[in-house]
């Protein structure tokens, strides 16, 4: 069985290897290899899922990745309830998206490379989900970040895509640094990276108090980065530059959910921080992100940007769920969201594929032209809004009940957000599918057509197939957690022993009412035109401009971080050249000066001395010359004086 678990991440990885080296020559230019690998992984995860459902023990297997000093660092994988669910989500949604992208990416010059990146992404996501220790989690975490970088920047000819991929990687990398710091702190205190040992240490109280909260918050920092929560959410909207299947797979269903999965996986750490401060932080950050992203989504015109902000908002919802001790609620919402958000993205993809534009203001009236896309997206929107039979209703409702019980103010935030969610999703639907077409069909002469010249058509079966598959799940996956069926999901995926909060009809009714109200207002504005959207915008004047300017986060980061680093690097470069190099060259110049000084010193002083002696002797000679008079008697005189001196000398001594 464990071999099976190891195979799940390895299969897509092998597919990646194969495609990279033999891309073109593989069947279906690598696509079928990728899809085959992922489908196999899906089958294996189903097998594991049913084994676990049948009450089998969670699988664990480790290898000695490396030995430090005496003690080896054992790293491995584990499959328990949470992992099984995530495996299912990733593989099922993943394969649907793989199949969809065969049609979507048809004819792209770098077609095999796209599937190579997708397989690598699937492999690293599976590794992340299966990890039983911080290191594999972190490795999967970073590799997933890499794949999102590669896939966002897939059409790198477009400078916007290049910048977006860079922005995505750097922002997630900032989050990863906090995550890494958290891991280091754990290793520093416990000397081990495995989750098992960490949980034992937390239970035994060896790791507790402020330190535990610190670790929890640092780890949550990573989650903020990866799941695009408030401070580090700026990269997700720009990530829409990538191809739509990428946005669907990575930026809706799986990768961004990694942050939520990480919080769920390490829930014990968050849970046991003194009086749940960590969980409160998670909840509030989730709440704020949910509300703020929802407000921004309302004013977005690009269909994918709307979806992006909706994802941030829904992720905020999951964090909120987890934060208010709703472990099952959070995970359940994660699963349902994966399905209907992937569906909405793929639908948007097929719309873009047909209309060759993202701007919903240039669409309209597509319902008749693209019926299957319209109906599947309608199901998706209703699920997102949280209307009764659909998946969104059950998971969002559970979160709201948990919030109601544990953190009332957040309940109200949740409620308002669900109202806005319903509003913006319906607004998007009305703009895109209903109302009069704001484009001129191609065959008419485009004399008066005020829209773009385009001929929308329904996407090919290879794209609509997955849409219907996902629509089915978006509709009925909710029942898995339905209370009246004894919430099987709650029993399967739960934290600790106490059961999830019982189903509360009153909250269900309130939330549905709020959702319907939201849709009603949207219909009033866009379908029946009671109010003009411009008037509403003027009414909420200060907030709406904030929302349009995305709460100025981008400009803030642009000014402080980006410009700051570039400025710092330029200053340091100049500093390096002039100061340090200057200093070195200065020493060089000083030494050259010294050598010149020595030459002068040597020339004048030492040489001078020698010449002086020469000159001195000559001068002395000149003086003494006069003594040599040539006259004998002078010499006699000198001799006589000499004798006298000698005598005196002799007498004296």
């Amino acid at each position: 069985m464990t071999a099976l678990a190891w195979l799940i991440p390895l299969l897509p990885f092998l597919a990646f290897g194969l495609i990279v080296f033999f891309g073109r020559r593989l069947p279906g230019q690598g696509a079928s290899v990728a899809i085959g690998a992922l489908l196999a992984a899906a089958v294996f995860s189903l097998l594991l899922f049913f084994r676990l459902l049948g009450g089998a023990e969670p699988i664990r297997s480790t290898i000695n990745w490396l030995v430090l000093g005496q003690q080896p660092l054992a790293l491995g994988i584990q499959v328990d309830a949470l992992t099984a669910v995530m495996l299912l989500v990733v593989t099922v949604v993943g394969s649907m998206i793989f199949i969809y992208s065969v049609g979507y990416m048809h004819g792209d010059p770098r077609y095999p490379r796209f599937f190579a990146y997708l397989s690598l992404f699937a492999a690293s996501m599976l590794l992340l989900v299966l990890a039983d220790n911080f290191l594999f989690l972190y490795v999967g975490w970073e590799l997933v970040g890499l794949c999102s970088y590669l896939l966002i920047g897939f059409w790198f000819e477009r400078p916007a895509a290049a910048r977006a991929s860079l922005k995505a990687f750097i922002t997630t990398r900032v989050g990863d640094v906090f995550f890494f710091a958290g891991i280091l702190l754990v290793f520093f205190n416990l000397g081990t990276l495995g989750f098992g040992q960490t949980f034992e240490a937390v239970e035994s109280g060896h790791l507790s108090g402020g330190l535990l909260t610190g670790i929890a918050l640092l780890l949550f920092g990573g989650a903020i980065g990866k799941s695009a929560q408030v401070p580090l959410h700026v990269w997700l909207p720009d990530a829409m530059e990538g191809p739509t299947p990428v946005s669907a797979l990575i930026h809706a269903a799986t990768m961004v959910a990694a942050g939520v999965y990480m919080v769920a996986r390490l829930f014990l750490i968050f849970f046991s921080s003194p009086d749940h401060t960590a969980l409160a932080v998670v909840a509030w950050i989730g709440g704020i992100s949910a509300f703020m992203a929802a407000t921004i989504a309302v004013v977005q015109d690009d269909i994918k940007r709307v979806m992006a902000y909706s994802t941030i908002s829904q992720l905020g919802y999951m964090m909120l769920g987890l934060g208010v001790l709703g472990y099952t609620a959070g995970v359940f919402h994660l699963m349902t969201h994966a399905f209907f958000k992937a569906l909405l993205f793929l639908g948007a993809g097929s719309v873009i594929h047909a209309m060759h534009t993202n701007d919903i203001k240039q669409m309209g009236g597509l319902a008749k032209v693209m019926p299957s896309t319209y109906w599947t997206m309608l199901i998706g929107s209703l699920a997102l809004a949280g209307i009764f039979p659909f998946a969104g209703f059950w998971s969002k409702d559970e979160i709201l009940t948990e919030a109601w019980h544990n953190n009332p103010p957040l309940f109200y935030v949740g409620l308002v957000t669900s109202f806005i969610t319903a509003f913006y999703v319906m607004r998007m639907m009305f703009y895109t599918f209903l109302g009069e077409p704001r484009w001129a069909p191609a065959h008419e002469s485009s004399g008066h057509g005020q829209g773009t010249v385009v001929h929308p058509h329904e996407s090919p079966r290879v794209m609509t197939g997955p849409l219907w598959f996902l629509a089915f799940f978006a509709a009925f996956i909710g029942f898995v957690g339905a209370p009246f069926l004894g919430s099987p999901f709650g029993r399967f995926v739960r934290f600790g022993e106490e059961a999830a909060v019982p189903f509360d009809l009153r909250i269900a009714v309130i939330s549905t009412a709020v959702a319907l109200a939201g849709m009603g207002v949207a219909a009033a504005l866009y379908r029946w035109r009671w109010l003009s959207p411009a008037a509403v915008r003027r009414a909420f004047q200060p907030f709406s401009t904030w929302a349009e300017r995305k709460y100025y986060f981008d400009d803030l980061y642009g000014w402080t971080v980006v410009r700051g680093t570039v400025w710092a690097s330029r200053v340091l470069r100049v500093f390096d050249i002039y100061v340090i190099d200057g200093f070195v060259n200065l020493i060089g110049v000083v030494f050259v000066g010294l050598t010149r000084l020595y030459r002068v010193f040597d020339l004048y002083v030492v040489d001078g001395l020698v010449n002086l002696i020469g000159w001195g002797t000559k001068a002395l000679g000149g003086v003494l010359r006069f003594v040599q008079t040539g006259r004998a008697e002078n010499y006699l005189l000198v001799i006589a004086i000499g004798v006298i001196l000698l005598i005196i000398g002799g007498l004296v001594r």
Partner: protein
Amino acid sequence: MLSLMLFLPLAGGIFLLFFRNPRAIRGIALGASLLSLYVSIVVLGRFDLHGGMQLLESYSWIPAVGIAYRVGIDGLSLPLVLLTQLLSAVSIVYSWRVDMRLKEYMFLLLLLQTAMLGVFAALDFFLFYIFWEVTLVPMYFLIGIWGGPRKEYAAIKFFLFTLIGSLAMLVGILLLYFNAAPRTFDVLSLIQQQPLAGQLRLATIAFWGFFLSFAIKVPMWPFHTWLPDAHVEAPTAGSVILAGILLKLGTYGFVRYSLTLFPQVFQQYASLIAILALLGIIYGALVAMAQTDLKKLVAYSSVNHMGYVMLGVSAAAFAYGKPDLAPAATTALNGAVFEMIAHGVITGALFLIVGVIYDYRAHTRGVDEFGGLGAILPVYSGITMVAMLASLGLPALMGFVAEFLIFLGSFGVFPGFAATGLLGIIITAAMFLWTIQRIFLGPANPRWKGLADMDTRELVALVPLTVLMVIFGVYPRPLLDIINAAMTTLVAALR
């Protein structure tokens, strides 16, 4: 066995002097280098993991003064030796198309290879010092003759900088020599008897002497200005070896000599050195970001990476005397040595990559002059992507394992510095990705329309390095066990 490995390249070098036609010269050069590589692999085979210092050879040279030709190898020097062999072979393959004065070029490369192997294998300070100085000469000529426009300035600057350092080291060596009881240069016995353990003042002087020489070589923060100049002007093969191995001489020196011979003094100044290392990390990354010349950018990234190594080493030094920190110190040292190898492989590859674009294709290294090469040179951009991602420490590649271990270790010893070091990761990531973006992404620059992708010569040089990066990234056990055995014994000996 070891001496055979040491002097084989030199023998090859001398042998090829007698030939005239370039094909023969290239063949012999490659042959000598590969043969030496083969011998070192045999040495690897013979190497027993927990044997400490092995394959010792000792022939008395100047007995009067206690100098002997002592050579030996252990877990620390073996990986570095293998790295030297690999990079030298790769750079010889890469310089297959050098036509100007090929004979001297190949001779200098082989001489350099012998000198570097000597430094890593020498166990006698005198021999170590000779090899240390000999490494300078060929590199000086490589930069000076085959270099770029400002080659003389760069060559002289490089030479003088390192020379001054090595003079300071000589003072240290002599201090050790004169305080040793039986007056010997033998490193092992010096480590045994710790001659300067008593006098703290002398030990400090000796330590700073060694520090200056190694810090210049590493290069650590204030002494790094020679590196960008040397790299920009050096020929590709020269800068591959300069970055790949010559920088490691400094860090190897720190681990092999400073740490073992002056533990108390090193511990005293460990925090200062850590700060310098951090400066290296953050300063290197930031300045690299502002560079327009690709080679200078990679040079500053080396300053950044060597900053990590020094962070690990200073962490290990700081933990001297505190037994409970021993495991953290071992991890930090493991990380530091692994990073040395990783940096050698990665930056070696990066410089080859720069060479591929610069030497026979675009003849310009301005990062902003490129753009959209991704479409034009797919294979090239693939390999560069892997190398640059490995360099910024992406998991499942070699760089990450090293940085991970360094941070694991140094976080245990001084969390404050390690935390600031983490900041470096973001800046390094930003720097490299921005470079990738400026060169590979964006609209295809028409100017480079006709560029040919990599030819076999470049592929043969680069592919082994890339494969190594991935293998040791996914499963570092084989290399790490060798290093780990050596480091555990070293840290245990330190206590």
